[in-house]
Symmetry: C2
């Protein structure tokens, strides 16, 4: 464990200082002491920040991440079922993006004179699933 000041953490983690202060206010990270006014961190904060970044990619809100990180200091105690369920959610989102990408490619390639005349496109526009809504 060695100590880093805010500029160092910003540089190594890629998060700007404003974000580090914001995260501290939100209870996601802690600084331990100051040199003059400058926050000092121990190097564990870098792991914590990496976990935060991962949490964000995994679709958790900062509040959720804060809760997860508070559960055990230094340890991570995530429910395995919860992780799998989140993975399933992410896969569903990934598939939706894929499907949309395929549609865009089809529209780009379609030989119909105008996009709105493409039969597949017209069919999709009538498909209630296109909106992701129930109406």
């Amino acid at each position: 464990m060695f100590r880093l000041d805010i500029a160092e953490v910003a540089h190594q983690s890629g998060f700007p200082p404003s974000t580090l202060r914001f995260y501290e206010k939100r209870g996601l990270i802690t600084s331990d002491g100051r040199q003059g006014l400058r926050r000092q961190y121990d190097d564990g904060v870098l792991t914590r920040l990496a976990l935060i970044a991962l949490g964000q990619r995994a679709g958790y809100s900062l509040d959720e991440i804060a809760t997860l990180l508070r559960l055990k200091e230094g340890e991570l105690d995530l429910s395995r079922t919860e992780l799998q369920s989140q993975a399933t959610t992410l896969r569903a989102k990934a598939k939706e993006l894929q499907a949309t990408a395929d549609l865009l490619d089809h529209i780009a390639a379609c030989s119909a004179p105008s996009h709105l005349e493409c039969p597949r496109f017209k069919a999709l526009l009538r498909d209630p699933r296109i909106t992701g809504r129930t109406g």
Copy 2:
């Protein structure tokens, strides 16, 4: 072409009336006339709303969608290259989500006594790509 009032459009499109008024203010749709105070639409608005929903799924902002929809009244004149490039972006996002899902599954299944001791997890946390940042 037949006419629908706002409640009907809301019901058929799945967008709440507040959103329809909001979209009108933003220039995404137009109502043509009123019956009393109630906005009346012609049924073309439903196609337009489906296009808006698709645009959102495809990752465009409302401003971008508004611009695209204004290009040609009733027609859609999207650059095919632009569509393909957007499709590529979506596929990249989809892959990122997949990768994150795989990681979550691995963490859930990993036999290491604590998540932070899982070698693959530790390695990933050190990987700068985990943050999606350059720092």
